[in-house]
């Protein structure tokens, strides 16, 4: 697939997407010594022209960079502090931030994680072609790895995979919270994590140290840089709208001509069962997130005895920033200021970075593997009170076909009857669903003794939200057609313009809830029309879009999911939408 803008056909048929095959990397781990694996000869191919340097050299390069010195002088002039004091401050920030990647620690993790992963997962499947493409890209250009973020496992898994395939280990932007964990924080630092504060809004010096640190690593091709566009783990398993700060930073060296190109590699990490599943539901309901602590981690080791099914990691083809920027960014705008003077990105640049961010998140979504359970959970949530197993089977197989038609990356075993597939996924998720007799229903955990109505409600909400976090994994497949279906039933007429404007309005309403690239409204509308026509739900007549006779089944009137309204995430997004639509207004910030 060509990723250059404009090269994309206006309407892509998602079914035609070709995806690579997977290999299970745990298989070899189960058949050979973990110790030998941890001590294997590790010789990754490096970025051409790279002169390897130590983490400490890197730090001094950053501290002596013109960029940073410029800001230090500015800060010192503004605050009246001497430059030496500010320099020390900068050095302290960098000390707190910088990683200390060393192979020893990696090897330690390689050993322990092998043990842990084998206990947790049935398989960890990786697309090897993606790895090969990545290896090629790493030699030619600085690479930025952009995995989806669903679990703390994500970055451990990333480094583990890269080590397994003998690729350069990434340096990873991590939240400062981890440093709260004694010992573990430092271990992570030694395995390539660098730590940034969650917010440092106005702190010019902090920003300068941080961005220069990242850019230095990128320019030198020191190591692939890894961060999470979504900024934080998605508690709902829906992709979060991307944060742009770091993406801006890694693209700047290209804009300023310091590197020929930067390659962005979206990585989709899909879990059959997420470790944090019920924690997330509780968090969404307002139970504070447990603070990261080493003792917490040790307590959590009971999870090792549970079965988390399989995991899929898909490395998408590298996206060249250069080709994306072709015709969109006039790089000569950066020519009139010396490079060490930070420039506020122009509107054009901001819009571009934003588009790229959305594009990457959509690529992550596209290659996210959807498990059968996701379909089961989707259907189960339509009838929270439970349903007949036979009906579930029937509907699951219908939904499977529809999802396939809409281009979902479905991991559905071949030559296995639908009933077996469904029952085996139910058994893996027995904490969420149970079969009694011929009916299936949600499992609601409760205390042994009597429970108050509040407790009952809370526990039920936990189950619904946990289940919803699985359903959410397939939403991106149905999102556009669903918005169109809603538009069809809400619009005043069947005229295409009316329906489009209704569609566009809905996109705006849901722009925090889902990944809807700004400016892609027409494209989305076309895609939605295409899909609904294809499945026979609507017909395009001349200037009209009308519901087809056979399409009635697609337009279920859905009952309000009151439990989901309890999710703080949904509330936040709804509020944002209302503010955006000028329905309500912020009075105090």
């Amino acid at each position: 697939r060509c990723l250059a803008p404009g090269a994309l056909p206006r309407r892509t048929d998602p079914v035609l997407k070709k995806r690579d095959d997977f290999e299970d990397i745990l298989e070899e781990r189960r058949n050979s010594s973990d110790l030998r694996y941890a001590f294997k000869c590790y010789t990754p191919v490096l970025y051409r022209g790279l002169t390897p340097c130590k983490a400490a050299t890197l730090k001094s390069m950053v501290l002596q960079s013109e960029q940073l010195l410029h800001v230090i002088n500015q800060v010192s002039a503004e605050s009246g502090e001497s430059t030496d004091v500010v320099k020390d401050e900068a050095a302290a920030i960098l000390e707190e931030m910088a990683h200390r990647l060393q192979l020893r620690t990696i090897r330690f993790f390689a050993y322990t994680l092998s043990k842990a992963f084998k206990a947790l997962y049935r398989s960890v499947c990786v697309n090897e072609e993606g790895i090969q493409r990545l290896q090629q890209a790493m030699q030619e250009h600085p690479v930025v790895l952009l995995p989806s973020h669903r679990s703390y496992m994500d970055f451990l898994m990333m480094s583990y995979i890269l080590y397994t395939y003998d690729l350069s280990l990434p340096v990873i932007a991590a939240g400062m919270d981890f440093l709260g964990m004694k010992f573990v924080g430092e271990m992570l630092r030694m395995s390539g994590a660098f730590f940034i504060r969650r917010s440092f809004g106005g702190d010019q010096l902090y920003w300068a140290v941080f961005s220069e640190y990242v850019k230095t690593m990128l320019r030198k091709g020191y190591a692939p840089i890894e961060f999470f566009l979504e900024g934080t783990r998605s508690r709902t398993c829906k992709s979060l709208t991307p944060k742009l700060g770091l993406l801006n930073i890694v693209m700047e060296p290209f804009f300023k001509g310091e590197v020929f190109d930067v390659n962005l590699v979206p990585v989709s990490m899909s879990y059959e069962r997420v470790l944090e599943e019920s924690l997330y539901a509780r968090e969404l309901l307002g139970v504070p997130k447990p603070k990261e602590s080493t003792s917490g981690l040790l307590k959590a080791r009971k999870i090792l005895s549970e079965d988390y099914g399989s995991m899929h990691v898909y490395f998408s083809p590298p996206v060249s920033v250069r080709s994306l920027a072709q015709g969109r960014i006039n790089r000569s705008q950066f020519n009139l200021t010396p490079r060490h003077v930070a420039q506020k990105p122009s509107e054009e640049t901001q819009a571009f970075v934003n588009d790229v961010a959305y594009r990457i998140v959509r690529l992550q979504q596209e290659n996210m593997v959807v498990k059968p359970w996701v379909l089961v959970a989707t259907l189960l949530l339509q009838s929270v009170e439970g349903m007949e197993l036979t009906e579930l089977m029937e509907q699951t197989s219908w939904l499977r076909d529809l999802a396939r038609m809409f281009g979902a990356f479905l991991d559905w075993p071949d030559h296995t009857p639908c009933s077996m597939v469904v029952s085996s996924s139910i058994s893996l998720h027995r904490n969420l669903a149970c079969v009694s007799g011929s009916r299936i229903s949600l499992v609601v955990e409760g205390p042994q003794g009597p429970e108050t109505p509040e407790e009952a409600l809370f526990n039920r909400a936990v189950s619904v939200l946990s289940c919803a976090s699985y359903r959410n994994q397939v939403l991106h497949v149905f999102l556009r057609p669903a918005l169109l279906a809603m538009a069809l039933s809400n619009a005043n007429s069947s005229r295409k313009e009316d329906i489009y404007s209704c569609f566009d309005f809905l996109r705006n309403v849901f722009s925090d809830e889902f990944i809807l690239s700004p400016g892609a409204s027409v494209q989305d509308f076309d895609e939605a029309c295409h899909l609904l026509v294809k499945c026979g739900a609507v017909e395009l007549l001349h200037q009209d879009v009308v519901m087809a006779e056979s399409g009635r089944t697609f337009f279920y009137p859905s009952s309000l999911k009151c439990y989901e309204v309890l999710s703080s995430d949904l509330q936040k997004n709804a509020l944002n939408a209302l503010i955006r639509l000028n329905v309500v207004r912020r009075v105090r910030t």
């Binding site: 001509g257 020929f260 006039n330 790089r331 020519n335």
Partner: protein, 592 residues
Amino acid sequence: FSCSSSGVKPAVATGLVGTVQQQDIMKWNGWGYADSKFFFNKKGQGEFTGKRYRLSGLILPSLKDWFEGTFGANLQHKSPPSLNTSAVAPPSLNEAFVEELKSTGIPFSHDTEDRVFRAHGHCLHEIFSLRDGRVGRCPDMVVWPNCHNDVVKIVELACKHSVCLIPYGGGTSVSSALECPPEETRSIVSLDTSQMNRILWIDEKNLTAHVEAGIIGQDLERLLNESGYCTGHEPDSMEFSSLGGWVATRASGMKKNIYGNIEDLVVHIKMVTPRGVIEKSCQGPRMSTGPDIHHFILGSEGTLGVVTEVTLKIRPIPEYQKYGSVVFPNFQQGVACLREVAKQRCAPASIRLMDNEQFQFGHALKPQVSSIFTSFLDGLKKFYITKFKGFDPHHLCVATLLFEGDREKVLQHEKLVYDIAAKFGGLAAGEDNGQRGYMLTFVIAYLRDLGMEYYVIGESFETSVPWDRWVLDLCRNVKERIVRECKEKGVQFPPLSTCRVTQTYDAGACVYFYFAFNYRGLSDPVHVYEQVEHAAREEILANGGSLSHHHGVGKLRKEWMQETISSVGLGMLKSVKDYLDPNNIFGNRNLL
């Protein structure tokens, strides 16, 4: 690291004093003198013919290997030119103009050969078409004014009869500036200035010389030398390019560090425009009289009128000249050294830095070694640099130097520069390497003709760029872009993509790129070439390079003018054009 002697004579001596039949001793479909060319002899060794250059008559044993190795070319695969010139359309003459011109007695011609010779510059597509026997729109006639007044008459007649004039100097343009606009319906007259080639006076008190603008560079230098002077203006094309051409394109000379570029050398200019003659009333060395009108003329590329006479600064011939060279372990170090030299403002008359590819190329032009002893010495030097000093032969690069002045100062200067170089890991590599570097400049255009016989096409282009942007950045990005574009466009062999720094300034440098590839298997190689050059220029601009340092804009780079000087700036230039030449008599359509 040869220490055998080769290279071109300092200024090429056996030149021509312009004659009407200038084309008799020059190639009509290639570069330079008809008697000078590269070829591969029966043994497959490279040779350079003629007697004009130091390289002439010598055998170049490494040329074949370099040529085949770099381009994947093969001496068995020749792409011979087809010499069919009958395709030239008959001239469309403006009879009234011709009649009146006859009465002035100014010589003119509409002979096909004369017309074709002045219908092109030396862009790749121009030469390539000629070799294919394809000729586009040609001037319909050629006139040879003999002096300023002749030009005044011609321009008046052109205005009166609505004839399009295209000034022609040395014909070395590489910007499509001489191409006749195909959409031009009027009769096109090529105004050849070659007969206006006299030095009118020399003023030793003020150190100026007043010269007719048609004089060719090497003639000007030689004639001034006879009186003990020089201008010191030595663009790489000086064998063939004219004073008027330099003014019209803002030319730059190799030794500008001492003598300045053309805009620094010019004291007074006389130009004939459709509106009348423009010149200043005095020869004061600097004036505060509003924007300098010279700067409308400098770089006007024949769109406003004909430069007829120029007063230039002259200098006594320097007492002593010395070449030199320095080897650096890599390009970055070399650049850092040049930057330091520029910072300390101690640049020699010329300082240039070749990248590794060009260093190897220079090597390929080493003549046969005359004795076992020299070859032994060469081996020893190579051993010293690569083994003892640990330079990687695939990374090292060479700076070539030229010092001028009185002997003592030159030696001091030389020491200063070598000391700076040493700080950047540079090792002095002898005078011969330096001299050979400068020789390359003169023969490279001949080499392109050789390449074209074996499916290899190439071209050079240049830019100027601030210091901080170009080392590992502009140079690397442009070279890489070229390689990639070639691959994308289906070029089957890796291209030669190399650069050198040819001039240093306080705030930046001039970078020169050479780009060539083997086009076997391509159906439209020139189109591919043009696409790649276009992409390379975009890359240059995106990386903070200028549209041109000294080649000019012509028609080749016109599309970027607005972006380069802003639409307001373009409007300013247009309004000057509209005032001076409302009927577009100077209709070569360059620049704007």
